[in-house]
């Protein structure tokens, strides 16, 4: 991957007098939390300014203040040289400030053009009828200008997440933007899609749009941003040109302590460790084709691949969540039939979904209920649930996993992402699952909670549990895995012992299938 600040050189000279935003001494308190403490933030015309910090550091709150979702307690915002007090995001948008949220807010059933111009449709016959043709033309022109290769007539739901996000950007840009805020835009994108997104961002920057780029992925910052502002505990730690800081320095500023992100040097699995799970010639849907692999006791098996390579589908097929067309699964040498998640759980398999809100948790239930969900049948005493035991065990795991919650009765929606994830992990640990499939276990959670989850995974394997870890972040795969398998287009394309693994080697396998498929067709 080519990175380095080269691509932004031409912007280097135009910093002075081009400031379009200056936030001064922004302060915001919630009950019990001082969310923003006298924060300053600037943005220049055509600048890409990265805003980083752990969850709860205040970056989202700062942006919410800026676009009028949350009112500030004190401080001043100067935008284009005027004092600016946004009433709500709509007002901010009218003033040329757009925000793209982590979760996309668009309508799957409508076409791209309809999504872009919703609320501002082209009309004819005096405003009574929709002018679909004109609208499609406008959308096409807009998409072309932004170098996005998207058909405006396509229903949005048929596009990949990456394309959908581009449509959202196009929608924002169509409102004569001066400032665009991107909240974790790359969280769900493949590397190729990220490249495309960054090209579009640079293009916008060249047209003078200032961008605030919020990201957990620090690798991106040097590739795309001109300056970086680090926040911690509601304060701005520092703002620096990206060319003057290293990734390690940024991390240190974020957490106030040193975290080393080093690849694992050698496998922790003993040479003769027994095979716990053997998957042979598994077929399911379009994205799981003849997948075969072994998982050994105490092993963390990294499963790498691009978005849409079939990793999640493989995991779901093993877990019985989707229909399987063929293949065999053996657990400790014994052939098992898994046709539903219930069977999988009964065989000691736990699955941590990539989308915890949709598939992992019941956000309106309590911490306790979520933790015990997979294990209620073991907590029965006669006809009833042994409530005291449920309480004790959940309390145990709250402490063991260091879950920050005021009580076991707290509703899960009130917990932070990292703590929610720990609750899902606790659910499977309480069930005492031997085989754990972790699908993107650290997605959308902050650096601190991430390293806690890493530590936990290592402890689990020491206890003899075996883990399949699916991740889109190669450094994470390299840091955690004992062995790595790579998927592409539904097939297993490579296997690497950790000693021989590198980002380049993994990417080689992950893109191999593309070529193979291309050459075949």
């Amino acid at each position: 991957m080519a990175d380095g600040p080269g691509v932004v050189e031409d912007l280097g000279g135009m910093k002075v007098d081009r400031q379009i935003l200056s936030m001064r001494r922004i302060d915001k308190r919630f009950t019990g939390v001082h969310a923003l403490r006298q924060v300053d933030f600037d943005l220049d015309e055509g600048e890409i300014h990265a805003l980083v910090g752990e969850n709860g550091a205040g970056k989202s709150t700062l942006m919410k203040v800026f676009v009028g979702i949350t009112p500030k307690d004190s401080g001043e915002i100067h935008y284009l040289g005027h004092q600016f007090n946004p009433r709500d995001p709509k007002h901010a948008l009218e003033m040329g400030i757009g925000i793209i949220h982590q979760e996309l807010n668009m309508m799957d059933h409508l076409t791209v053009a309809q999504n872009i111009f919703i609320g501002r449709e082209s009309t004819k016959a005096g405003g009574i009828l929709l002018d679909k043709r004109e609208q499609a033309r406008r959308a096409e022109e807009l998409l072309r200008r932004l170098n996005m290769n998207i058909d405006p007539e396509e229903p949005l739901g048929r596009l990949t997440v990456g394309k959908q996000q581009m449509v959202e950007i196009a929608k924002a840009v169509s409102h004569s933007l001066r400032i665009l805020i991107l909240d974790e835009p790359t969280a769900a994108l493949t590397d190729a899609e990220i490249d495309e997104l960054f090209a579009i961002m640079r293009d916008l920057a060249a047209k003078g749009v200032g961008m605030i780029h919020i990201s957990h992925r620090l690798d991106e910052i040097h590739r795309i941003a001109d300056r970086v502002t680090v926040m911690r505990d509601g304060e701005r730690v520092d703002t620096k040109p990206t060319s003057e800081v290293t990734k390690q320095q940024i991390i240190n500023m974020m957490v106030g302590r040193v975290i080393y992100e080093q690849p694992k040097s050698k496998s922790n699995v003993a040479a003769g460790a027994p095979v716990v799970l053997r998957v042979s010639r598994l077929n399911a849907g379009k994205l799981v084709r003849d997948v075969s692999f072994d998982l050994r006791e105490g092993e963390i098996l990294g499963m790498a691949g691009l978005m849409g390579s079939g990793r999640t589908e493989t995991a779901r097929a093993i877990f019985g969540a989707d229909e399987v067309q063929g293949g065999a699964i053996e657990i400790r040498g014994r052939r098992v039939a898994i046709s539903s998640p219930e069977d999988a759980v009964a065989n000691g398999i736990g699955y941590l979904s990539e989308d915890r809100k949709r598939f992992g948790l019941a956000v309106n239930l309590s911490v306790k209920d979520n933790m015990a969900m997979a294990t209620y049948d073991r907590f029965e005493r006669g006809l009833f649930i042994h409530a005291k035991k449920v309480g004790q065990v959940s309390d145990d795991y709250v402490h063991k996993l260091n879950i920050r919650t005021p009580s076991l009765e707290q509703l899960l929606r009130n917990l932070s992402g990292g703590n929610q994830q720990k609750v899902v992990i606790a659910k499977w640990l309480i069930r005492n699952c031997e085989i754990l499939i972790f699908d993107e276990p650290t997605r959308g959670i902050d650096v601190g909670a991430k390293s806690e989850i890493y530590t936990l995974m290592n402890e689990l394997t020491k206890e003899g549990k075996s883990i399949i870890m699916i991740s889109s972040e190669l450094p994470e795969i390299l840091r955690m895995s004992d062995r790595i398998i790579v998927m592409c287009e539904g097939r297993l394309t490579g296997e690497l012992p950790i000693e021989k693994a590198s980002q380049e080697a993994i990417m080689g396998y992950a893109t191999m299938g593309h070529q193979a498929v291309l050459s075949r067709s």
Partner: protein, 430 residues
């Protein structure tokens, strides 16, 4: 009274959690007292019996419906299933079936309709609204077909089989009615409550309603439990059918339409969310009694019974509105201003003084205690006035800022209007 810090803390806690449990019962009590004051002879034993009588059949079916609604489903068939099973039982009786098997048949028929719903919803993944709408019509038809469109009359008191009326209303030799059915209603409610809160099935019911896919991926046999809640709804409809037969003696064919809506209304008034995952049996029972108080109270004020429908509607909408408002309030983040901080610190001081007072009192230091009491009173007074003043200042300050902001915004908008911001065009470069 507790000291002030606790007072604030517990008040907030109450607003967030407790209020939910108090609102509906409070509304019930207020309504009852209201009719007691303005209605004729409302505070009387016969009226009470009437209230309870009127609560039976809706009460039973609403409990089953509560299960279904908590899973995120809906059951529109409970009303007609109740009447269909009652009329089928009555027809069996007419054809010489003994009493006990006939009553059991009523429950079995109810359960069978529930199973029918459950299979279509859980196995064939059909929308509950459609399935139960169909079952509503089917059960109405089945009732008419089986009874050959004639009514079924259950035995009256003091005839063979008439004993079953006493399950719901026992008449003493002096002719005083004892609403024994209340015991059955409470018994069923307790069973339902324990099922929901203390069994695997109950926890799964909430889990399915809160996030069905997450429950499935936790290894919960969603199909089985989802089917079972519809069976429960059918069974309670059967019990409701018996209670209807016992109270009204004659069951007409093709009846019961509309009862399901009252049952749903009762659940909703009691705080059950149609979105699933939230609800309690107690809430539903309170909802049932609110409607039954209305049904008996309005006639006692010389308002026709059909006013009941009107007011029930008002209460349903009001209850949900209130619940939404309360949820929003509870989720709202409070902003702590200096005034709040001041009040909190003063409350702490007062608490300290209180402690001193109690230690003085314990030491029988009458003079010291009196002095401490005086100081507490002074501190409270000061706290109140200063807090009010600070709040007022804060408000004034805020409105001043708002006015300034509006002015600035106006100026800004004017300036922007001239400049026309644009991210599409190349920005002008000096």
């Amino acid at each position: 009274m507790a000291n002030d810090t606790q007072e604030i803390g517990s008040m907030q806690r109450f607003l967030e959690r407790g209020l939910k449990w108090v609102l509906a019962p409070a509304a019930l009590v207020i309504l009852y007292v209201f009719f007691g004051i303005f209605g004729r002879n409302y505070f009387s034993y016969p009226t009470l019996v009437n209230i309870i009588d009127a609560a039976y059949y809706i009460g039973f079916i609403s409990m089953g419906v509560t299960f279904v609604i908590i899973t995120g489903g809906i059951d529109l068939s409970v009303g007609t299933v109740m009447m269909a099973s009652a009329i089928i039982g009555g027809t069996a009786l007419k054809h010489g079936f003994p009493m006990v098997p006939s009553l059991l048949l009523i429950i079995v028929v109810g359960g069978a309709f529930g199973l029918f719903n459950g299979i279509f919803v859980s196995r064939l993944k059909m929308p509950p609204f459609i399935v139960t709408l169909g079952t509503m019509m089917i059960s109405m038809g089945v009732g008419s077909i089986v009874s050959n469109v004639s009514s079924a009359t259950f035995p009256i008191r003091h005839t063979p089989g008439g004993w079953f009326k006493s399950i719901f209303l026992y008449l003493t030799p002096a002719g005083v009615g004892v609403p024994t059915g209340a015991i059955l209603l409470i018994l069923v409610a307790v069973i339902c409550h324990i099922t929901l809160s203390n069994t695997k099935m109950g926890r799964y019911t909430y889990a399915i309603g809160s996030n069905m896919e997450a429950a499935r991926l936790s290894g919960v046999d969603v199909r089985k439990w989802q089917m079972l809640v519809y069976v429960i709804a059918g069974l309670t409809a059967g019990i409701g059918g018996i209670s209807y037969a016992a109270i009204y003696t004659t069951v007409l064919p093709a009846q019961g339409q509309g009862f399901e809506l009252y049952a749903i209304a009762a659940a909703v008034i009691g705080g059950t969310s149609l979105a699933g995952g939230v609800g309690t049996i107690w809430g539903t029972i309170i909802g049932v009694f609110i409607m039954s108080v209305l049904a008996t109270g309005l006639p006692s004020m010389n308002l026709e019974a059909h006013y009941q429908t009107f007011f029930t509607g008002v209460i349903v909408i009001g209850a949900v509105l209130l619940d939404m408002y309360r949820n929003r309030k509870a989720a709202e983040v409070r902003i702590e201003t200096p005034a709040d901080a001041y009040r909190a610190s003063m409350a702490k001081n007062i608490a300290a003084l209180r402690q001193e007072l109690s230690s003085r009192a314990a030491a029988r230091d009458a003079q010291g205690a009196a002095e401490a009491r005086k100081r507490i009173a002074a501190a409270r007074m000061e706290m109140r006035s200063t807090f009010a003043k600070m709040k007022k200042e804060e408000k004034a300050e805020q409105s001043r800022i708002r006015a300034e902001e509006r002015a600035a915004e106006h100026k800004f908008a004017e300036a922007l209007g001239r400049k026309e911001p644009s991210g599409q065009k190349e920005p002008e470069r000096p």
